[in-house]
């Protein structure tokens, strides 16, 4: 186990045939919750220092796919996965790898801002303490809050509850909490859908800054947002042919290509707003 975990952090990103720097290579053959088949045949390569967006109609499994990347789905009783997710040279679904270890290297930001019911400082320090960080926690907290563009607003009230902040600030606090431990990858599950337009814009700017340092994967139902921030975009759609509602990847590629010149009919129709 320890050896595997070391492997997780030590090996660098792999290169694919086209010389692209792939950090996470996610290939889902099929994915079940109990007897419900949620996702099938989805292959998404996530490249280093780029923002990869998953778009698609409600219930197409885009959040499920995102949660595969740090094994958050393991919490759901009845979850079954076949396929692989290569991260740093090994399959994170290999039986010898602990899901908890995976999540320490791949941070996550959720749809609803979810700061802990503790002070702003302790929220950001949570991950550092979890990882038994030996250096100065105060410095790291400040650094993370600055990088999350929240420092100026909270520097005088670090001991106040994280819940006392506004929704947009709470979400940036959650981003600070996630990046405080310097994860390689940051997963964001509709991070702006509970926020007002101004906060949304701030978070988007923040994502563009953060991608110079981290690799970001984001789920969004806002096409404009995907267009504004994403370098790569994957379009998922729902297949009802087998009776259930199974999501699958229709098209994946450079955002510009997906939005300006989609190859598949479904993608074209969705982007033109003909269904949602």
């Amino acid at each position: 186990m320890a050896a595997d975990n070391e492997m997780l952090c030590n090996t660098g990103a792999s290169q694919d045939a086209n010389g692209k720097n792939i950090v996470i290579d996610c290939k889902i053959k099929d994915l079940h919750y109990g007897s419900f088949k949620a996702v099938r045949d989805t292959h998404i390569p996530i490249q280093k220092n780029r923002i990869t967006a998953f778009i698609g109609p409600s219930g197409c499994g885009k959040s499920t796919v995102l949660r595969c990347l740090n094994r958050m789905n393991d919490i759901v009783r009845g979850f079954r996965f076949s396929g692989h997710v290569h991260f740093a040279g090994c399959d994170i679904y290999h039986h010898s790898i602990d899901a908890v270890a995976v999540r320490r290297f791949i941070g996550m930001v959720f749809q609803q801002p979810n700061p802990f019911a503790m002070s702003i400082y302790n929220n950001v320090a949570f991950g550092l303490r979890l990882n038994r960080y030996k250096g100065s926690i105060t410095e790291k907290v400040e650094e993370a809050l600055k990088r999350a563009a929240l420092w100026d607003e909270v520097k005088d009230k670090l001991q106040k509850s994280g819940l006392s902040l506004s929704g947009g600030q709470q979400q940036r606090l959650c981003i600070a909490r996630a990046i405080a431990t310097d994860p390689q990858v940051l997963l964001m599950d509709e991070p702006c859908s509970a926020l007002d337009p101004i906060s949304t814009r701030r978070i988007e700017e923040l994502m563009l800054e953060l991608k110079t340092r981290y690799t970001i994967a984001i789920v969004t139902h806002n096409l404009q947002q995907a267009q504004r921030v994403a370098d790569d975009t994957g379009f998922l759609y729902v297949d009802t042919s087998e009776g259930g509602r199974t999501g699958y990847l229709v098209e994946f590629g450079d955002s510009k290509q997906i939005f300006d010149d989609p190859k598949e009919k479904y993608t074209k129709d969705y982007i033109r707003g003909e269904f949602s």
Partner: protein, 346 residues
């Protein structure tokens, strides 16, 4: 009339003002609720006043000495209830410590789906996990276990008392006496257990408060927003770290509420304690020594009480009432503090 003019000015097809019946029903409803509220308050006040009046002669005669002396002798009419006060608090606090520990642990076990997960793992091995009937077994077993624990509250306390006397005491006696022989130099094990005593009383009492602690704590734990759990798991916290650092602190309020309720119950519990505590006016730290509590003192002495003794018993009842009241006030203060901490001292 102003309202008539206002309504006539509007030409609404469907909307119309509330009818006389609706208005009357509203008024009646409001007054019935108000009256019930006041009635409850009045009953409490009435009981306290009556007890105080009945206790007055004894209060005048014995004063504060009643609380600080240790003799209870109807022959010479000397009364002191310090051993009972001590016994009440000693048994209740010990029962509360044990009951809270096991109760909260059980609540965590129930709320975090440990049992369900275990059963699910077994189902998975025998490939029944997606079976429409057996697949629901984990949830069902969790429900059954929860109900079983809550069922402990439905057992009458006299049954607990009997169980304590005929099963519990004989069962723990050898261990207790062994402990007393080996570790007798420690105050807790200072005497042998010859029958009823503090330890059996504490064990039964903690079982009796267990359902209260478990049920309310479980509700508080389940009420913790799932998004916090997700946040902690997303950070790479283990299950244990998530429970300790994130979930328990949020549920603290509810758990404290549970503990206060349980303490109230433990202080006032009568029947089981009267049967198990030994009814002996002693102040001892020993877990194996017999003792007495206020509630059991009252229960044991009222049958042959003359007018003078009734007044003394009323005084003791008033003391018990005061102790529970103080406990509740302290509890309310802790809750208040916890809730203002929740809001981050806004």
């Amino acid at each position: 009339m102003k309202e008539t003019a206002f309504i006539n000015g509007l030409h609404a097809e469907i909307a119309k003002p509330p009818t006389l019946f609706q208005r009357t029903a509203d008024t009646v409803f409001r007054h019935v609720c108000g009256a019930s509220g006041w009635l409850t308050t009045l009953i409490v006040v009435f009981i306290v006043v009556k007890i105080t009046v009945a206790a007055l002669p004894a209060m005048c005669q014995y004063g504060v000495n009643f609380l600080t002396t240790t003799t209870w002798d109807p022959q010479t009419q000397v009364y002191g209830i310090l051993p009972e006060i001590w016994g009440t608090l000693f048994t209740s606090v010990l029962a509360l410590i044990a009951g809270t520990f096991f109760g909260v642990a059980a609540a965590i076990f129930l709320s975090e789906g440990f049992l369900g997960q275990f059963i699910f793992a077994i189902l998975k091995i025998i490939k029944m996990d997606t079976n429409p009937y057996w697949g629901k077994l984990p949830e069902r077993m969790e429900g059954i276990l929860k109900n079983l624990i809550e069922l402990l509250a439905a057992i009458p306390s006299v049954v607990y008392g009997l169980w304590g006397i005929f099963i519990l005491i004989p069962a723990i006696r050898p261990t207790c006496n062994w402990l007393s022989a080996k570790l007798g130099w420690m105050a807790f094990f200072g005497t042998t257990l010859s029958g009823p005593g503090v330890l059996p009383a504490v064990i039964v009492l903690s079982i009796m408060i267990l359902p209260t602690v478990t049920a309310i704590s479980r509700d508080a734990l389940v009420a913790v927003p799932p998004k916090l759990r997700m946040a902690a798991y997303g950070m790479g916290a283990t299950r244990w770290e998530t429970i300790l650092a994130v979930i328990l602190p949020v549920a603290t309020r509810g758990i404290i509420g549970a503990v206060i309720l349980a303490f109230g119950r433990a202080l006032g519990e009568t029947m089981a304690l009267a049967m198990l505590v030994g009814n002996s006016n002693k102040i001892s730290l020993s877990l194996f020594s017999p003792a007495n509590t206020l509630a059991s003192l009252l229960a044991n002495n009222f049958p042959e009480a003359g007018p003078n003794v009734v007044s003394v018993l009323m005084y003791a009842a008033l003391v018990l009432l005061a102790i529970t009241l103080i406990v509740n006030i302290i509890g309310a203060m802790i809750l208040q503090k916890a809730s203002s901490a929740d809001e981050g001292g806004k």
